[in-house]
């Protein structure tokens, strides 16, 4: 379904992804773990062609998205929903208008059908009573759910989630986790980026851990939970010292901030 093959990407002189290979099977929910700044978002961006690899290849739904062929990109993006970290809603449109946007702008769908589909996805994310509010008037968790509704309105086969639960209270996180599991039961393929371990264990079929541009560990929930890999252990237990922080502990305030987010 999704295949990254030896993807290397350098940004501002730093090698973020280094010959990274990863594949996601049809209907699978794969969770990508990693500390902040390790390139999780960069990886997701490669899957929808928002970034191109310097070397390597990215295939989605059997199409080579790293080729940057515009018609392939359009075709693939139609089948892929992307939930951005903060929802990425347009703030001058209401929640409803935001969700309807992809239908209105790109598909020739009738007004009735648009209304119906928008109501359906808003109900799914439990926002049907907030459709007329503007993004600035609702909470961060609701904005994420609205972003998810927009990602779902075109009936995607693949959904990519960028930190869907970060910054949310436990209840909002549970709502999101439930939604992800619900999507999973309908056979949608998902990649979910997070550093929220509870969420990862709750939704994942497989978990991959990204560090220094490579997948350091990959396995089912139980395999990761019981893994002896020191990097995985450090991440799960939120230890300050270990292979993940090797040599980066003296990185000043930045490192301190990252530690907080991981723990």
């Amino acid at each position: 379904m999704i295949r990254l093959d030896n993807v290397t990407k350098t940004l501002s002189g730093r090698k973020i992804l280094s010959e990274l290979s990863l594949s996601v099977e049809e209907g699978e929910t794969l969770v990508l773990l990693g500390r902040s700044g390790t390139g999780k978002s960069v990886t997701l961006r490669h899957i929808v062609g928002l970034m191109q690899p310097d070397h390597g290849k990215v295939e989605v739904l059997g199409k080579d998205v790293s080729s940057q062929n515009p018609s392939i990109l359009t075709e693939v993006r139609k089948k892929v929903g992307y939930l951005f970290q903060d929802g990425a809603l347009l703030n001058w449109l209401t929640v409803k208008e935001n969700v309807a946007l992809p239908l209105i702008e790109t598909l020739g769908v009738s007004a009735n059908e648009i209304e119906e589909r928008v109501q359906r996805v808003l109900r799914e994310v439990e926002l049907d009573s907030h459709g007329d509010k503007f993004p600035g008037e609702i909470s961060g968790g609701m904005r994420k759910r609205a972003g998810l509704a927009r990602a779902l309105v075109c009936d995607p086969q693949v959904v990519l989630h960028d930190e869907p639960t970060s910054g949310l209270d436990p209840i909002s996180s549970s709502i999101i986790n439930q939604l992800v599991n619900q999507l999973k039961s309908t056979g949608i393929t998902q990649v979910l980026v997070t550093h929220d371990m509870n969420s990862a264990f709750e939704v994942a079929d497989r978990i991959a851990m990204l560090h220094e541009g490579k997948i350091q560990a990959l396995g089912t929930v139980d395999e990761i939970r019981n893994s002896k890999n020191p990097a995985v252990r450090q991440f799960l237990e939120g230890e300050v010292t270990g292979p993940l922080t090797h040599g980066t502990l003296d990185g000043g305030s930045d490192a301190a901030e990252d530690r907080n987010e991981v723990s």
């Binding site: 929808v48 892929v80 992307y82 970290q85 990425a88 992809p102 209105i104 702008e105």
Partner: protein, 259 residues
């Protein structure tokens, strides 16, 4: 010293990058003009024209009024010492219509609307809204840049005409009160000496300035990186670059017209 050289190098590098980007952006936006036939794009465009006009009217009117009065005061003072204060009408009218009106309006619109466009698009860039549009296969150029470019390009000449008119009005008040030039004498002198070409060059300038301000604003917005500070920086760059381009392009357009 090397720090300064490095900074200059970086500045030139970024300028070259954004000039190229801006020209390509302008070209691409022009190609999307047929999308204005789309009812939604037209509605966005009309809404923006309304917002832009309302948002900049008061400050433009006040600045224009006082610019006209200052011109009349200084011009009248020099002319009166030669006993030629009856020429005040033509001097004010020609300079307001040919130079000051377009120039002053462009500076005001740069500060109020150009920086606004850069900040608005820049905010969308850093909060991944532009990426979201791309993924929905909605072209940010068609969806965001086109309506802003067209709206600003149409609003600028309108505001310029209003500014020139109010400026001349202000000048006529000073001419009457301070130099005893009647309203009739003032407007006769202005109308007799004003050429259609003066009006044309004023309008051409205002259109060029409108395109420039919108393009620079959109370019800096789309090139924004690095969070909230990046947005502030984009707005600041949009203002500085537009000011420079307006004054340089203004000079060359005048030079072309007069030669």
């Amino acid at each position: 010293m090397t720090g300064a050289v490095e900074a200059l190098g970086r500045f030139l590098g970024r300028s070259a990058e954004s000039t190229g980007y801006g020209l390509v952006l302008l070209g691409k936006t022009m190609l999307t003009i047929p999308h204005l036939l789309n009812r939604r794009r037209m509605r966005d465009c009309l809404n923006l024209m309304f917002t832009y006009s309302v948002g900049s009217f008061t400050v433009t009117a006040v600045v224009a009024l006082f610019t006209g009065m200052i011109l009349a005061l200084n011009g009248g003072d020099s002319l009166a010492s030669l006993g030629q204060e009856n020429l005040i009408g033509r001097i004010v009218a020609i300079s307001m219509i040919r130079e000051m009106g377009p120039f002053m309006t462009a500076l005001i619109l740069t500060a109020s609307l150009g920086s606004g466009i850069a900040a608005e698009i820049g905010t969308m860039k850093v909060s991944e809204e532009i990426d979201a549009l791309e993924i929905m296969s909605i072209s940010p150029i068609k969806f965001l840049v086109l309506p802003r470019l067209v709206a600003l390009t149409l609003v600028t000449p309108v505001m310029t005409i209003i500014a020139a008119f109010i400026g001349i009005l202000g000048a006529s008040i000073v001419a009457a009160n301070n130099f005893g030039v009647t309203w009739i004498a003032f407007s006769n002198d202005a109308l007799e000496n004003l050429k259609l070409g003066d009006v044309h060059i004023g309008l051409i300038k205002s259109v060029v300035f409108g395109v420039t301000i919108a393009t620079v604003g959109a370019t800096q917005g789309l090139l924004t990186r690095g969070g909230a500070t990046g947005v502030g920086e984009a707005a600041r760059r949009a203002v500085v670059i537009s000011f420079l381009l307006v004054i340089i392009l203004g000079y060359y357009l005048s030079w072309l017209y007069l030669s």
